[in-house]
């Protein structure tokens, strides 16, 4: 997958779809996971094998293994949903944000959607913000293309049509472009004329050229430069002085002097430099704007919060609707491994509910008739029927997330400091300019020096470098799969002392795996037979234990196995499952902590396998399994990097103390800094007690802690919930993105300082020169854009550290 693994394992098999190295113990030698296998099969079936040819031109991109999804997306067909998201219930066009867009191959595949999904007439992808616009035939449903996209690994999230703000953004972008075009055209022509003046045109021509230049300057000075005037005026009115004020002052003064000269017959003017200056400044501002607009805008991000689906009993049948349309009193059915869409009371059925989202417990609780269950928790057992008590925005989860949302609207302090510094800058420059005027003695000379001073002292670091540096950092983070919502994050990450990491999913894999197993003595072929039976038994079960057992058996088997026919499956609620396979009975059942496993491994769940031969009447226990949530392989290295960055690591978890302590010692974290048994509120308490800390956790489970501090990073978890709660969300699992983000934040700071130093040095030298009369306004107007360009380049230049750090 990366250079190191490739070097260590030169003959490793690579997954045909995603290019990942397939671990040696995997049975299949062609694909790393079933997700990749199904996408590959799908593409071949549709004749879209060209996808892989296109991939070859992007070898450095690490393809992520295909995400698996079994959703039906039926809520997209709900008229109420369409009404809200697309404007009217018969809408035929809808925008979707897609996860997993990486390169041209993705673009090709997605824009080919009409070829193999007949209901789609038009599909257009915008790669900058990963949004696809789908148009379907009249009468067709959106759920079909959504399912196809999900099957390919691009999870779609419907976006609300936010007409007013989107249109406004587009119009503004266009008018900026026009202003730039006008400035470019006119300044180019003015420069042509000025060139001949420098070259020594005869007086009469020179005067005519001067007049022409003045005429050409009018569109630039009035139309193109208008945004500067507007912003300068606005800031003066509100008594705050922004960067644009000195700029406007220099422009006005320079233009006035030039026009005066031209009108009085003196051909010397500065219009070429001024108009070029306006062009350059406009371009850099526009560039910044576009950079900041890359990636889903804040507005559309909130509409990513697709309401979850719910199966409601209506008109004597079960139909799927969006959770938004649920009302109190509705009867809903929640199946296995499905999240509960609203707060309610169980009416029928009994099942294990995973409340990790609200309590942080990784052990599911058994709930039965009459028990209250909450929206967001997951049903891990059988289907249950629930009467909705509190739907929609008043559920416990919604309230939690709402407070998270309200805390996320901050501007970057770096930019605010820049604006404040501008005030002092302006004052200083004014004072200097007046000083230069008097110092020179002569009026014309004095005016000329003052003008030079005003033009040459460029608040570039403030006006350009700060927002530009920030934007480039944001873009790099996006390339690493990190979405940053709040500008304050980069500043505050650098000042943090502690880092609180949630255990489940961030330090650990977040899913049950077999950690230890003990078998009765068996021959090889007998053992293999048992594997087959257990696997067949657990084949279709969505239960985490079933997943874990299947995965483990897949790695143990050296050759692929067939799924045996399962007769009479018996569910033992709360205990396990039994079934008859080839006339023998096999049973998988929960076990209390066995003595041989109790304090050694990271086991949290224990199961035993029982077997009964056909015709016999006694069960034999043939194996015991300990299952637990394993530490991620990259965690120790990542943690070391964090320590090197000067951060003090803590572990927060809702899990049992023994489990947490085990992880802490494996990662060499002191005992006092590994806290267990914490509720979400308690995690938030930790952050309150330690200001200046970073919080890293799962977007859904740790929502309140993540929302409390601006220094929060959500790792995996559902994108929707994470984006509400945290300031940054990583689409890649584990700690590596966190380390990456923090390193980016440091680099951002360094680049900012570099820009400041460059700018200050330049200003000191240039201001002195102008003061002493060494620099004429003309030269000043040429030097100034050059310095702006230097600072601009400096903001972009990041020393390359490795393959992934490209601009």
């Amino acid at each position: 997958m990366d250079a190191l693994s490739c070097a260590l394992n030169p003959t490793a098999d690579l997954c045909q779809h995603c290019g990942d190295i397939i671990p040696l113990h995997h049975a299949s030698r062609e694909f790393c996971c079933s997700g990749c296998r199904s996408v590959y099969g799908l593409l071949q079936e549709k004749g879209l094998g060209g996808f892989y040819k296109l991939l070859e031109s992007h070898p450095q991109k690490v393809r992520r293994p295909a995400l698996e999804s079994t959703e039906s997306y039926a809520y997209l067909d709900d008229p109420a949903f369409l009404e809200e998201y697309a404007g009217h219930s018969n809408a035929r066009t809808l925008d979707f944000y897609l996860e997993g867009i990486q390169c041209a191959a993705c673009l090709w595949l997605i824009e080919k959607l009409p070829d193999w999904v007949p209901s789609v007439t038009h599909s257009r992808l915008n790669m900058a913000d990963s949004v696809v616009r789908l148009e379907i035939r009249p009468g067709a449903k959106f759920s079909e293309p959504a399912r196809e996209l999900a099957r390919l690994g691009y999870l779609p999230h419907a976006l609300k049509k936010n007409e007013s703000s989107e249109l406004l953004k587009k119009k503004e972008n266009r008018s900026w472009l026009l202003r730039i075009g006008v400035a470019a055209a006119c300044s180019g022509n003015i420069m042509l004329l000025a060139f001949s003046q420098y070259a020594g045109a005869p007086k009469s021509f020179s005067q005519v050229f001067g007049i022409l230049s003045a005429l050409l300057y009018l569109p630039v000075g009035i139309y193109s430069a208008f945004p500067f005037y507007r912003s300068a005026l606005a800031s003066i009115k509100s008594k705050k002085i922004s960067i644009d004020v000195p700029i406007v002052f220099a422009l006005t003064l320079g233009a006035s002097m030039s026009f005066w000269n031209v009108l009085t017959g003196n051909p010397e003017h500065y219009l070429d430099s001024l108009s070029a200056f306006i062009f350059l400044l406009l371009s850099s501002r526009y560039f910044l704007r576009r950079l900041q607009q890359t990636g889903a805008s804040n507005g559309s991000l909130t509409s990513l919060l697709t309401p979850s689906r719910a199966k409601v009993w209506q008109d004597s049948k079960w139909i799927e609707v969006s959770a938004r349309s649920l009302k109190a009193g509705n009867l809903i059915r929640v199946g296995t491994a499905e999240p509960i869409p609203a707060d309610g009371k169980i009416i029928a059925g009994k099942s294990f509910i995973n409340c990790a989202l609200l309590t942080g417990e990784s052990q599911p609780k058994l709930q039965g008739i009459g028990d209250i269950v909450y929206s967001g928790t997951v049903n891990e057992g059988e289907s249950i029927d629930i009467e909705v008590l509190i739907p929609g925005n008043d559920t416990r989860l919604s309230k939690l997330l709402k407070t998270a949302e309200e805390e996320l609207l901050h501007r970057s302090p770096a930019i605010e400091i820049a604006d404040r510094a501008a005030k002092w800058f302006l004052l200083g420059v004014f004072v200097l300019a007046i000083g230069a005027f008097f110092y020179a003695g002569d009026t014309t000379e004095g005016l000329s020096r003052a003008l030079s001073l005003l033009i040459v002292t460029c608040p570039c670091a403030l006006a350009l470098a700060t927002p530009l540096t920030l934007s480039v950092t944001l873009k790099r983070a996006a390339r690493e799969g990190i979405i940053i919502r709040s500008g304050t994050l980069l500043d505050s990450l650098v000042h943090a002392k502690n880092i609180f990491i949630d255990k489940t999913g961030t330090l650990t894999k977040g899913r049950l795996e077999v950690t230890e197993t003990k078998w009765i003595p068996l021959e090889n072929h007998e053992r293999r037979e048992m594997f087959e039976k257990i696997r067949s038994l657990e084949e279709n079960s969505p239960h985490p234990v079933a997943h874990a057992l299947r995965r483990w058996i897949d790695t143990e088997l050296t050759a692929p196995t067939s799924v045996l026919n399962v007769q009479s499956r018996v569910l033992l609620p709360g205990v396990g499952i039994s079934a008859q396979i080839k006339d023998d009975w096999v049973s998988v059942q929960r076990l209390e902590t066995p003595e041989w496993l109790s304090d050694q491994k990271l086991g949290t769940t224990f199961v035993a396998i029982y077997h009964q031969w056909a015709g016999a009447s006694t069960w034999h226990k043939i194996a015991e399994f300990a299952l637990g949530d394993r530490l991620r392989t990259e965690a120790p290295v990542a943690l070391n990097k964090l320590k090197k960055l000067g951060l003090n690591p803590w572990i927060l978890s809702g899990d049992r103390q023994e489990t947490v302590q085990m992880i802490a010692s494996a990662l060499k974290i002191p005992k006092e800094q590994a806290l267990s048994g914490l509720s979400p509120e308690a995690k938030k308490e930790c952050l309150i007690q330690h200001p200046n800390s970073i919080m890293v956790g799962d977007g859904a489970n740790d929502a309140s802690a993540l929302a409390y501090t601006q220094n929060s990073i959500a790792v995996q978890g559902s994108m929707e919930a994470s984006l509400r709660a945290a300031s940054a969300y990583s689409t890649r699992p584990g700690l590596d993105p966190v380390v990456c983000l923090i390193e980016l934040a440091y680099e951002n700071k360094r680049t900012l300082y570099r820009g400041y130093i460059l700018s200050i040095t330049y200003n000191l030298i240039a201001a002195t020169a102008a003061f002493m009369g060494v620099v004429s306004p003309l030269i000043a107007a040429i030097i100034m854009p050059l310095s702006a360009l230097t600072v601009f380049t400096s903001s972009h230049w990041r020393p390359t550290r490795g393959a992934s750090w490209k601009s």
Partner: protein
Amino acid sequence: MEVLIFLIPIALILGGGFLAAYLWAITHGQYDDLETPAYRILTDTEQRSKAP
């Protein structure tokens, strides 16, 4: 040298013409998405070679 009386207006008219074309391109949304077309040209090659 008098030819300049003729040349300069021509230069300005040409410049103005280009500006008008630019304005047309903007209002027809050609500059709205600057990233995707760069990728799109890479993907069209196959289809074109299949065209009769």
